[in-house]
Symmetry: C2
Subunit: 174 residues, 2 copies
């Protein structure tokens, strides 16, 4: 199991630089998400997921189908149904059957939804500025955007790792 060569391209481990980047990335984003969540809950009574849904709707002329909403939000379909239910109950969106396709549900943001989004957005931006953008130079920002865009596109274009890879174990902890 323990590799022997110290070079980083071997199949065994990650070199310190790779580890640093990976860990820092995951932890920083985790922290950021947590802070963002706190702000949105305190200032608008909504979760990050709900904010993202409202943002997508606000940016898309106010209307999207569930499937369109699902794309771009990393999220399960059933979770989306659940959140849409909450948002509808809160009067922030409306759901209706599509005319083109009886299966599709068209989600529409309401005036209240737009208002809430508008109310919360400035604070959200401030949080992002304060926590993420503040310590970055112009070069950093350019690099970060470039890098993460590339990574995201790369991941989106990945083949789904084939059907059933294999399952060696069944539930040691869970």
């Amino acid at each position: 199991m323990t590799g022997s060569s110290p070079d980083s391209s071997a199949s065994d481990g990650l070199d310190p630089q790779q580890l640093d980047a990976y860990f820092a990335l995951m932890e920083a984003v985790g922290l950021l998400e947590h802070q963002v969540e706190q702000h949105l809950r305190a200032d608008g009574g909504i979760s990050y997921v709900q904010f993202q849904l409202l943002a997508r709707l606000a940016g898309a002329n106010g209307q999207l189908t569930m499937t369109q909403l699902a794309d771009g939000v990393v999220y399960s379909r059933s979770g989306l149904t659940y959140q849409a239910g909450l948002l509808e109950k809160a009067g922030l969106i409306t759901r209706g059957t599509s005319a083109d396709d009886e299966r599709s549900t068209v989600v529409t943001i309401t005036d209240a939804g737009l208002a809430l989004f508008g109310q919360v957005l400035p604070g959200h931006v401030q949080v992002v500025r304060r926590l993420l953008l503040a310590p970055l130079s112009a070069d950093d920002l350019r690099n970060l955007g470039d890098i993460m865009t590339r990574v995201r596109d790369h991941m989106r274009n990945e083949p789904p790792r084939s059907a059933a890879p294999r399952k060696r174990r069944v539930n040691p902890a869970g």
Copy 2:
């Protein structure tokens, strides 16, 4: 409230470059987490959280208190208790009261825990390589590590935003 100047340092919005970086960052990490989760579940029957806990223990001479475990993992205390319970039930860790401080719980990774961690790690590394590292040049990696380390440290050193900022609304959706 709506700003007028198109420059990016205004208090109102984020310029396209900032938005790109922010969105790409959040989405890429979300996708990565999801893939990592899939792999760990399929190959070792554990969640990412559980993997992180085992990793921390494995890297810390096998022993840590609950509080030490909590630091570094972005996670609630009660969630940690729950996961520790699962890991203990699965025989991957052991919990005992500290000798120094009767309140503290010392968590120890078992041989089975180490074995499982060792079994899962190579695949985990491959996933990270394939999805995150593959599209990055040496410069990218250096930049990413540098940037995210700075962001993480910045966030860790932030004052906790004072006690109770304010609560404008109470639960529009939720």
